[in-house]
């Protein structure tokens, strides 16, 4: 590992340059999945590559956040071409979906707040003025607050998928369960239950930060495929393979995907979408179920409305 002489400078310098090159390329719109694969292959070649890349990525990420927080201050170049799109919010929703919209008053001179909510079993698609799209899952609520310098969405309950139009001068943040997710050009899903937050990154990059004093180091960058689970005291990040990522997001098509999921866990999922609540007898709670289910199956299919036992039998059939 240790090389001697002049080459050292060149070797370390060139690894640093390569890492910088990768980082810059990743920020371009031409960045594709195969580029991501090539980057990962390069990273896996050597801890030298990991060291240089992780360090630059973390440091460069800090410069982006700071610059984004203070637009205008450090600016030395004219920004006349930048559009300040006014937050005239509009939304598109499935006809069957009732959305509660509460128009807030004016906050200061540049922001207004709009709330969207779904009830149990409903889903909604929302198109924001900046072109960002939000998809709300069952029993979920958000409030949208767009200002000139920043865009903020609070996830008050439930689960939502965000497809964000990136704008470095007007950062897009999601506040949920005491944490903040800041978009760095991204598609991601956020789910809250009690004080637990789960962020699944699909595309691009996002930063998860927590205000909690219990978490010592409170910011982490997520890359595609990573799932962060945050509680008031911890943040854990894991990598999810792409197929299971698709399963996590199947709710967007109204589906639930189970893969050797215990009946106890599956019941909790079904109950999020249905007024009729399932109860699982403890004796069968550990049986597993696999397959793709209509999230609203309980109301549509009588076979699902029987006793917990028929639920179990049905599930068993599907497993084997």
């Amino acid at each position: 590992m240790t090389r001697v002489g002049e080459n050292e400078t060149n070797a370390a310098g060139s690894i640093g340059d390569q890492a910088a090159e990768w980082l810059l390329r990743r920020e371009t719109p031409e960045w594709l999945e195969r580029d991501q694969a090539a980057l990962e292959a390069w990273l896996n070649e050597s801890p030298q590559h990991l060291a240089a890349y992780w360090r630059l990525e973390a440091g460069w990420g800090r410069t982006e956040r700071l610059a984004a927080l203070k637009p205008g201050r450090m600016q030395r170049v004219q920004t006349a071409s930048r559009k300040m799109s006014w937050p005239g919010l509009r939304f598109v929703a499935a006809a069957s979906v009732v959305i509660a919209v509460a128009l807030g008053g004016w906050y200061g001179w540049s922001t207004r707040e709009v709330e969207y909510a779904t009830t149990i079993g409903q889903r909604a698609k929302i198109l924001l003025a900046d072109g960002s799209r939000i998809q709300l899952n069952t029993n979920s609520a958000i409030s949208v607050n767009f200002g000139i310098w920043k865009r903020t969405v609070s996830l008050k309950r439930g689960e939502a998928f965000f497809d964000v139009q990136h704008d470095a001068a007007r950062p897009f943040s999601v506040l949920a369960a005491g944490h903040r997710i800041t978009d760095l050009g991204t598609k991601f899903a956020v789910r809250t239950s009690n004080d637990r937050l789960e962020v699944t990154l699909v595309e691009g990059r996002a930063r998860l930060e927590t205000a909690s004093p219990l978490v010592q180091h409170h910011a982490t960058d997520l890359v595609p495929g990573e799932v962060a689970v945050a509680t008031p005291s911890t943040i854990a990040v894991t990598k999810q393979p792409i197929p299971s990522l698709a399963n996590t997001l199947a709710w967007r098509q109204g589906q639930l995907v189970f893969n050797h999921t215990t009946l106890a866990e599956a019941t909790v999922e079904f109950n999020r979408y249905n007024q009729t609540k399932l109860v699982v007898a403890p004796a069968i709670a550990d049986l597993t179920v696999s397959g793709v289910f209509d999230a609203a199956a309980l109301t549509h299919s009588p076979t699902w409305q029987g006793s917990p036992l028929s639920f179990a039998w049905k599930s068993k059939d599907m497993t084997y």
């Binding site: 801890p47 030298q48 700071l66 610059a67 201050r73 001068a169 010592q216 982490t220 990598k239």
Partner: protein, 179 residues
Amino acid sequence: MVPAPAVKLWFVREVLPLEAALMRYLRSSYRNAGEAADLRQDIYAEVIASAQEQIPNTAKPFVFAIAHHIMVDRVRRERVVPMDTIADVEKLGLASESPPPDRIVIARDELRHLRAAIEQLPPRCREIVVMARIEGLPGREIATRLNLTDATVSYHLKKGMQLLVDVLYGSVPLSEAPE
């Protein structure tokens, strides 16, 4: 084998904040201060390789032990510096628990620090970094506006990125930032 995201998280949160102290140690011990950045790169690579096996409980003694080991190894190979120029890692007082720095103060200082760092970049480099980072302009657009080639813009961005990160992690004190 520890999963990569866990190693990365640990590296970014626990190891990188030690960089300023690590660089002071390398400079105080190793006469050839210009090579401190290469040493740092080798140390980080070794730290990551070890953490992939198992993440240590406390980062600081671990990182400095590896730093010491790598420096001794280099000195042996090069036979230029007498061994006693390497500061004794035991004397650094790593065992004593120093209170963690106030993170709120760091966040406030970081902004000032970063602005000062940007001011210190070479003019062309600074102009391009500001356009890319603060205006969010794509490289091609910057090249068109400044009448430069894509490669030149990319060169300045890569250089600016590395200089800024050096300053942010305290590898280079502000006053000593090159150029």
